[in-house]
Symmetry: C2
């Protein structure tokens, strides 16, 4: 049995995403007692959630048990819990499983779907930030096709076969592409008594281009790839409302009848009660200094999507994606190790490794800092990088087997409705509560 | 698009298990319009559910989309639906998606957990007949360990770490063995701050031996394997009640404090409203003749677990397992094909291929009709047969990868609580409703 050393200072990490995981790994074997808490007992590899939603990957191959990461680490303790309140005066967090004292508190809870205060959108559209949400989306998509078979009303059938994605960032683009490939290669075999040509995939983006954070070149190429696959892209268009049946936009001439709106048009940092409002900036993010410390709070840090660190190069903070979280987690571990040796802390300096998105089979776009490329080679690089980044050898193996299978057979093998989704129970909200 | 040929006689198959699937396959390309209905959109490979429940396999690798089985089959139509009533006068079934006329109706809905009328047991114990039930069991097991960490009361902690399985048939034996291996190889790494030696696995069987349907030799060997792995086996013992905390048995000196009772002590055929009570025999099964016809009903057949076919060799009907279902499905397809050519029907003659069960790594028992063997070679045969029998090459590939991984690493990699299970909502019942 593993008895905690109570003389060691305690580092509490909230959140086992990319940042929290990297930080905890960096404190292995150090003279800290590390407590990692997360509301799930697993790490989610969010970049591949869209493949779970489109029946290409098992949920179990992109989730990794957090306890397994830290087996045989005598100074790291995991607890499945949710933070309810941070008591900055008492150096204590309140959770649903009790209170916990900290010497250092690292907040790494990431981001959640942002509906910008529109309750109707939150109720009727589907988010895709967690494994259960992706499974709900998979179920809903398949249920809609089963339902489409049963109706003789053309309008209703088309509405069931219409899929609308709000947000042309990487998530929206990758999901739209994957749905288009399902249509092209799989669904006409599954539903021979349905006219799959009537299935439509719409991607709605408020900016004048998709993948607005990438190079103009990649944006243009991604748009061409999407159109090539049959996705209908609506640029300069903003969803204004959705009542579960009809989507209206800022353009009175553009509306969509559909049963499925997938909301990938915004994220915001997860709220943590107890953090003073003065520390919060745009999108609920927490302002931090160059060491990821929250100014004015003692021994509290924020990393990853949650952290807003202003710099000359990044006046709007770092992009809310895996790389800044990983690099900040790594550096904070290094700084906490330096502290044990009474050495100086090092300031964060983001090394931009670029960004990428895949639209479909052989179709991806990659922006490296000094090189942009698109097409088959980009797609290959995308796959390679994602396989490398996946946590756990078992998961890499299973994902590779699935990708090889899907590539050779033009298939998405996991078209299962394991837990049927009930749209009447409300979408975004309900999925969150159940997760 | 695939337009049904309305001049063909319609065969309606209810249930996409082993029997229904085999029957539908045997009618491919024949002059019948085949409608297969199932409440799930997938076939479940039930023999491996216990590995899903114990984090060894993804649910998605033992479930197979029914539509995928029949792609490009122009005479086979799938509908996801549940039968509500059979109108034998009108040759019609009523389902939750509407009424359907049949020329031939084949009932293949299989069996469900039998709580023998004990509502308390049904409420508090866990069944393991469907994929969602197995996932609930996986979640509950992991949740109980997370909860055990949080209590300082020894009695409560032990109750959370006690697992009791009622029923020493193949399901109970395989599940008990898999739990024992989790304890032996995995859980002490996951929960270093918990004394895993206090975890107990109890297997309760009413008969004087486990695997009572197999040879004495295999029973004795299976018992020895179980004890070798640390499972506590209670023979000649019957569970009488369970209130969610305490299991009582027919022996007043034997009771168990636990939060998890897994009920593998009985199955019964699924009820189908509209079938006359006179057709039903013990365990809710439907009496059929040697052609799987239900005497007195016109063009209605039952196959598999549901069918009770008396014969000299099998006075109690055939065993409720995959082989009789597969063989009956195959023969009924042949007979329905013969009917098209106005040929004579062939009577069913069960070819007993034997039975097997696996207790753990290198430990299995196999009874072939003329040969019984146990140990490593039996375990190898068990794996080989199950891989062959799995539906779909993708699933075989993923299961093989998982097995190789687990074997080499003494691991069960999928220790995920994707959807937390709420025991207060009621167990067997709730899981059924949600499935």
């Amino acid at each position: 049995m593993n008895i905690p050393d109570v003389t060691q200072p305690r580092v509490v990490i909230v959140g086992g995403g990319f940042g929290g995981l990297e930080l905890a790994k960096g404190l292995r074997g150090q003279a800290y007692q590390v407590v990692l808490i997360d509301r799930h007992n697993y790490h989610t590899f969010q970049p591949l959630l869209y493949q779970v939603a489109t029946a290409g990957l098992e949920p179990d191959s992109i989730a990794y048990p957090l306890r397994k990461v830290f087996k045989r680490q005598s100074n790291i303790f995991f607890r499945m819990a949710e933070v309810e309140h941070i008591d900055i005066e008492a150096n204590e967090i309140k959770t649903n499983i009790g209170a916990l004292h900290y010497d250092h508190l690292v907040l790494a809870t990431g981001s959640t779907t942002n509906f910008f205060g529109n309750a109707q959108l939150e109720r009727y559209s589907m988010g895709m930030k967690t494994v259960p949400e992706s499974l709900d989306l998979r179920s809903l998509m398949l249920q809609n096709f089963e339902a489409a078979l049963l109706t003789n009303q053309l309008e209703e059938r088309e509405s069931l076969m219409n899929f609308v994605i709000a947000g042309g960032g990487p998530t929206g683009v990758e999901l739209a592409g994957a749905l288009a490939e399902l249509k092209k290669h799989v669904l006409h075999n599954d539903y021979p008594d349905l006219d799959i040509r009537r299935m439509n995939i719409h991607l709605i983006e408020g900016a004048p281009r998709v993948l607005a954070a990438m190079s103009e070149e990649s944006s243009a190429k991604a748009l061409r790839f999407l159109e090539q696959l049959g996705v209908q892209v609506w640029l300069n268009t903003l969803v204004s409302d959705f009542d579960g049946q009809l989507i209206t936009t800022n353009d009175s001439k553009v509306s969509f009848k559909t049963r499925s709106l997938i909301w990938a048009a915004g994220v915001k940092a997860v709220s943590l009660p107890g953090i003073p409002a003065a520390s919060l900036v745009k999108g609920n993010r927490i302002q931090v200094d160059e060491f990821n410390r929250i100014p004015g709070l003692k021994n509290i840090y924020a990393i990853g999507d949650l952290a807003f660190m202003e710099s000359e190069e990044w006046p709007q903070g770092h992009p809310m994606m895996a790389q800044p979280a990983i690099q900040q987690g790594k550096l904070l571990a290094k700084n906490l190790r330096a502290q044990l040796k009474h050495k100086k802390w090092k300031a964060f300096n983001y090394s931009d490794k670029g960004s990428m998105a895949t639209v479909g089979r052989n179709l991806a776009v990659v922006d490296l800092p000094k090189l942009h490329f698109q097409g088959f080679f980009a797609w290959f690089v995308w796959m390679f990088i994602h396989l490398i980044a996946l946590v756990g050898f078992r998961n890499k193996l299973i994902v590779l087997a699935n990708w090889a299978w899907s590539y050779l057979n033009f298939d998405r093998g996991i078209r299962l409705i394991i837990r049927p989704f009930n749209p009447r129970a409300g979408m975004g909200k309900a999925a969150d509560n159940r997760s």
